[in-house]
Symmetry: C2
Subunit: 225 residues, 2 copies
């Protein structure tokens, strides 16, 4: 009998990558660009989507990931944005992230022919979502200025995983002891390649730049092909 | 050969519970009361500890849990509070929570004879930390008013796991569209037993009530024994 070494963690990630690739092929075939949007709880993912999606020159849909409930899906559906809800609570105590297979299980519910852009709103968490590709073309995260300047240094994997870092809630800056330049310096220290967009989803300031970034994803994909 | 059914998830939690109980016995023997403090990233755990611990009529120490770095430990050590740092990044991509064995591995570094109260500052995350007891006497969480009123409904396990829910950053209420009563109603809906304390770690408003809650833990333990 020969000895076999089983590496569980790598196998689990390998399976995820296989399914993520299958998702990506399906999205690509349908001509849908996909963004995996991540952040800590309460950073303003849904508020930003409410603000930006209706104004886009693209047909956008949303896949909502939550441990429980469909509060955010309801907010977006009220704006006539197509939304599919994925709840992670059947997992071990409620999964703290979306993985590729959860997204795959939602594919039959998504009318990919009716959209050009799919925003995947991940579970609010700065750790595990960064470890699981789900078939996206780009990864974006939101960091709100109420969370402190140190977050890139404490959760570097998340900041490194993303092509775009949105800095949200800048309308609150006059009321905080917060050094925006220090946050931007810290983002740059862990991920110098990342695009940074400073905005307020509440006031609308800077949201146009996020809309332009989303609109340019198909152009970037075409240029890369 | 009879058939055996292995339930991996429960086994993993059983092992954690066994080690958590061993930790609890060690803390109890040393006369140290232990609080597991949890929240989303950037809710103000460290700022609240900076504010409350030096004013307590107890000798308090802190076990700092972070994926990477020792920023918060440095802030507390500057106030002459004994601090031990646990980094979770050797785990699979950086563990998103502290478990009982991580806390156990820190015990040799903790001078339990020199403290009456140990605050365990967990990794910033509203999902997984709630699933892992670490040997604590009480569990407390912080929810900041910048995170929205819906968090108890989206992360019910965390709110249910805690004896105390601290509502932080109320100094920002004048600048937010936020319904404090609605948040308190939602906390009450998922955990009617929880004590709620409304405060601002930054202004100091309400922090005294949190200090009184911490001071009363040994009294409650004595009354229950």
């Amino acid at each position: 009998m020969h000895r076999t070494r089983i590496r569980i963690a790598e196998d689990a990630l390998d399976a995820n990558t296989t399914i993520a690739n299958a998702n990506w092929v399906d999205f690509e075939r349908a001509g849908v660009q996909v963004v995996n949007l991540m952040s800590a709880p309460g950073s303003g993912k849904t508020t930003l989507l409410e603000r930006v999606l209706p104004a886009l020159p693209l047909r956008a849909g949303v896949l909502e990931g939550d441990v429980q409930g469909a509060i955010d899906a309801g907010r977006l559906a009220a704006l006539h944005i197509p939304v599919v809800q994925v709840n992670t609570d059947p997992g071990f105590g409620g999964e703290c992230h979306l993985d590729a297979n959860m997204v795959r299980s939602a594919l039959p519910e998504l009318d990919l022919g009716a959209i050009d852009l799919l925003m995947i709103e991940n579970v609010g968490n700065l750790v595990c979502p960064a470890e699981f590709r789900v078939g996206e073309d780009a990864r974006a995260m939101i960091c709100s200025v109420t969370e402190g300047e140190d977050k890139p240094l404490k959760y570097p994997l998340m900041f490194r995983a993303c092509e775009l870092v949105v800095i949200n809630k800048v309308d609150l800056l006059p009321h905080l002891e917060f050094d925006l330049e220090r946050l931007q310096y810290n983002v740059d220290a862990v991920n110098p390649e990342a695009t940074q967009i400073v905005l307020s989803a509440r006031s609308g300031e800077g949201v146009e730049a996020f809309g332009e970034w989303l609109t340019a994803i198909p152009e970037r994909a075409a240029a890369a092909a």
